[in-house]
Amino acid sequence: MSLRPDDRRAARTASAAVTREALAELRHELNRMIDRMDAFVREAAASLQAASEGRFHRQFLLEGVPGSFRTSATAINRARTAMAGTADRAAEAERARLRLADELESTVMTVAEQVAAVQSAAGEGTSTIETISRTVCDMDDLARGIATAVDGGDGGRAGRDARGLADMAERLRAEVSHFLTVMRGN
């Protein structure tokens, strides 16, 4: 069936609107992911910083920290409670904290910068929502990993923890750049 020029124009307008809507949703989805990471990093850094300074009343706020991020937050809160008793473990957590904050923050920065670049170059952008949900799943994996590392089943050696975190952050970074390549369509 062939379309009359009017119909064709209407179809084009409709499909442009769909693309615009998809892009807007995509942008919110990415922003939510970045905000969630950012909130987690700021909370993790600040609550452990406070604990290392002996301000033990400052807790890791669990509100707004969903899913497996919550598991890490709970673990950090447990660590904080334990630290209230032992200066040794405060130093250990301080090292883990610095490493964690650095790795995660640079990941967030990378995502933020690259997303900004993609957004300004955009034009395509449908069918990427699925890729994003996959990346978000990977981030959940990362968070679960952090929970395990911070919990440190066998006593939690700071060095091993930091290396584990760095590996996970590296994996995430690789995922993110893969995802961005897909998004750019090249």
Partner: protein, 181 residues
Amino acid sequence: MRASAIRPTGVERTFAPDEIIVTKTDLKGHITYANDVFLRVSAYSEEEVLGQPHSLIRHPDMPRCVFALLWQEIRRGREIFAYVVNLAADGAHYWVLAHVTPSAGPGGQIVGYHSNRRVPGEAALRRIRPLYASLTAEERRRSRPADAVEASTALLEGTLKEHGMSYEEFVWSLAGQEAAR
């Protein structure tokens, strides 16, 4: 400006416990980023808030001394938690537990500010509402803004001293219940 024209309707709005309201500002407190939850709860479009001072959503029931303390802390590079009631574009209001932090640039210098807000617990608000009411009442007895801040700051400090707590300890005595929820 639009903010001063908005009359509070008394309608209270809230958001889900697993949501966070996020905004970022430049060094002067002008909004550079607002997430979708902020836009929904504040009833503004993104175009209406970007570039605006954050006092756009200032509610008249908020004591000046809380914002004075907020700015003092973040300018020093420190985080602060505060219970804040905000005014939406349609006159509704919403309470938040705000966490405001400086964002550091590569050289460690402060390049802007960031705020994550969670839905506060009702038990905390039962303590905060009367405290803020007494602080704003104290401010309304002064005609000059500078005198008002000074008077309410003194009242806040006096109240904290009575309880033998610092501001941070006080906020955490309320927010701690939420962390444990």
